[in-house]
Each structure stands twice: as structure tokens, then as C-alpha cells.
Amino acid sequence: MHTPASIETSWPDAIHRQFRRTGIRQVGYVPDAGHSRLIGLCRDDPDIADVVLTTEEEGVGLVAGAALGGQRAALLMQSSGVGNCINMFSLLRNCGFACVVLVTMRGEFGEFNPWQVPMGTITEDVLRLCGFLTYRIDHPDDVEQIVSAGCDMAFDGDLQIAMLLSQRLIGPKQWTR
């Protein structure tokens, strides 16, 4: 099938392709500018139930419940959202629930808002302390391969995998003074 080049090089489309390939049926998210295209793709996908969360912590419960019912789920969040999940992540380790988290990074490369920096700079360490394997993605060309491998590792091994989409990849948030 012919696919336009502009689609092939879009990293949110690559992630959505991997969600479909690995059979992810539920996607929980707190809206985020970096994830806006991916959220749109998931919302428009009739095979995916999109669940808008009031806090990222809710998504951890969603993933566990989906797994109990035999469905795979993924979470989309900003780096600040990782901090909102810490205690609830215990559920994943206590029961061995597979979990795929796509984290858009703030508080690093080109960040305009210093209030994002404290959480952004500890996000990866926090995820590791919570039992996640973490993979950082800096280049658009790497997105599909890493997300593909990350999803397979999570669901084949009941592991918790976080993929960090760097601020350099996403582009710094545009801010009008």
C-alpha cells in the first residue's frame, strides 16, 4: 500500500501504527500539546477506547483493569504527570501488569517555563525507581523501532516500559510573551 511520505515521517503516526500492530485497545491520557496528534489518531480509531483522565494516576488503574479483562492499554502523559502516578505504579509491580507509557518531556531542552524543570529533570529517575525500564527517544527516525520494541517487551514479559519523547524531538513549546 502506498503511504505518503509526510505520514511515514510523522512520529505520532508511527506510535499509532505500533499501537495497532500490538493490539492496544485502550489509551488513557491527560491532554498534552506534544501528544495532541497521537491523541487525535487514537480518538479517531474505532478499535481504540480513548479515556481522558482527570489525573495521570487514574491511568494506572485503567491499565490494570483492561489487563484483567484481556485488553492491552497504553498511557500518554507529560513528564509532570509521571509524578502524579508514583504510588499507583505499585499496583503494576505488585501484580505484574504490563504497562506502556509514552512520556512527552518538558523541563529540558529549550524549556521556557522554569516551573516545569524540577519534575522534568527527575522524570526518568522516578520511572526507574518505580520499576520501569526507560528508553529515551531523541530522533524522529528512532520512534517506530523503539516503540515497537518497547510494546513487545511490555506485553510479552508483563514489564513496565516507559518511552521518553525528548523535548528536542517534540520541539520546545511555543510561547508568546
Binding site: L53, T54, V60, G61, A64, N87, M88
Partner: protein, 188 residues
């Protein structure tokens, strides 16, 4: 006021295909006391997450009825999940809050519901299809019927007496609870 053990026992009588997610603490002990069952996903932690686990399950299995049974402290900690559930409108999901207006595990300190914070009003504001409070055991049969037949999402605020009950401890190994649940769901 309801006796919590008697109420939960009534609620889960002839449970059929019901999938049950009790919240940590006394709710898990109450559900265990009503009779161990492989389709109970006992929680020993994850405070605030009980309703969301039930939502993920309800979305994954629209062919089955799902009931979350959190305490009031658990529900208050996850109160935002009522909005999340209201958006998705799962027809097969009910939440029965065991509301003693206390944090029973930590010394019976008062919760927000002791000051009139109204979970039923919150659920209705969050577009729940049905929400009501009950405080008499004669109402348990009605609630049980709702769990099995009524269009969700449903929230029942079950006003229970603030009494210490003996602990009835079910499985505590999270992996074992999960695998047992999944195996039972896939063979049922």
C-alpha cells in the same frame, strides 16, 4: 445504618457472572467475608484507584457486569475518576461505596462525607445514569438487582455503621490474585 458485613453478603448473593473489585482495607475484608471467589480482584493498596480498575475492566468486557466496592476514603481520593467514568458512560459498571464516613484502617478519623460531602450528588453531576444513597438492609435487594440489570454507570452510597469488624484476610499475593481472576474470566 447498614451492617457492612450483612450488606455486602446480601449484595453478592447469587452473584452469577459479576466481576468484583473491592477497595483496599475493610472493603476487601468484607468481600472476602461474603465468600472467596476467583472473580474478586482483592486490593491491598492502590488507594483511589478502585473505580478506575473497574472502568478498564468494564470497557474491556462490555459483555459482563462489573462492580467496584471502595470505601469512602478510597472514593474520595479518586473522586476525579467519577468525571472520567461519566465521560465514558459504561453501561455495565456500578460503584458501591461502603461509606462509614471514617478512615477505618487508620483509627476511625472522620472523612469528608462525615461533614455532608455528598458522593451521590457528585455522581449525578458527573452524568451517572443512576445514583442513590441507602441506609437500610431492606434496600439491599434493590441494589443487587441494579448491579445485574440496570444501565450504568451507577453509584450507590451505602451508609454503613462505623464499627470495627474482625478482619477476614483473602489472598495477598497480587500476581496470584491477578492470574486467578484472569483464568476464571477466560473459562467462565
Amino acid at each position: 445504618m447498614l451492617d457492612r458485613r450483612e450488606f455486602v453478603k446480601h449484595l453478592l448473593r447469587d452473584r452469577g457472572d459479576l466481576l468484583v473489585i473491592p477497595g483496599l482495607g475493610s472493603a476487601t475484608y468484607d468481600v472476602a467475608a461474603a465468600g472467596d471467589h476467583p472473580l474478586n480482584f482483592y486490593l491491598w493498596g492502590a488507594m483511589g484507584g478502585t473505580a478506575m480498575i473497574a472502568l478498564g475492566l468494564a470497557l474491556a468486557r462490555p459483555d459482563r457486569r462489573v462492580v467496584a466496592i471502595p470505601g469512602d476514603g478510597d472514593m474520595l481520593m479518586g473522586i476525579g475518576s467519577l468525571a472520567t467514568i461519566g465521560v465514558k458512560q459504561p453501561a455495565n459498571l456500578a460503584i458501591v461505596v461502603l461509606d462509614n464516613a471514617r478512615y477505618g484502617e487508620t483509627g476511625m478519623q472522620e472523612s469528608a462525607t462525615a461533614q455532608g460531602i455528598d458522593l451521590v450528588a457528585v455522581a449525578l453531576a458527573c452524568r451517572f445514569a443512576h445514583a442513590r444513597a441507602i441506609s437500610r438492609i431492606e434496600e439491599a435487594a434493590d441494589v443487587r438487582a441494579l448491579l445485574h440489570d440496570a444501565k450504568g454507570p451507577i453509584l450507590i452510597d451505602a451508609r454503613i455503621a462505623a464499627e470495627d469488624t474482625p478482619r477476614v484476610l483473602p489472598l495477598r499475593d497480587g500476581h496470584a490474585i491477578k492470574h486467578r481472576f484472569i483464568a476464571a474470566l477466560n473459562t467462565a
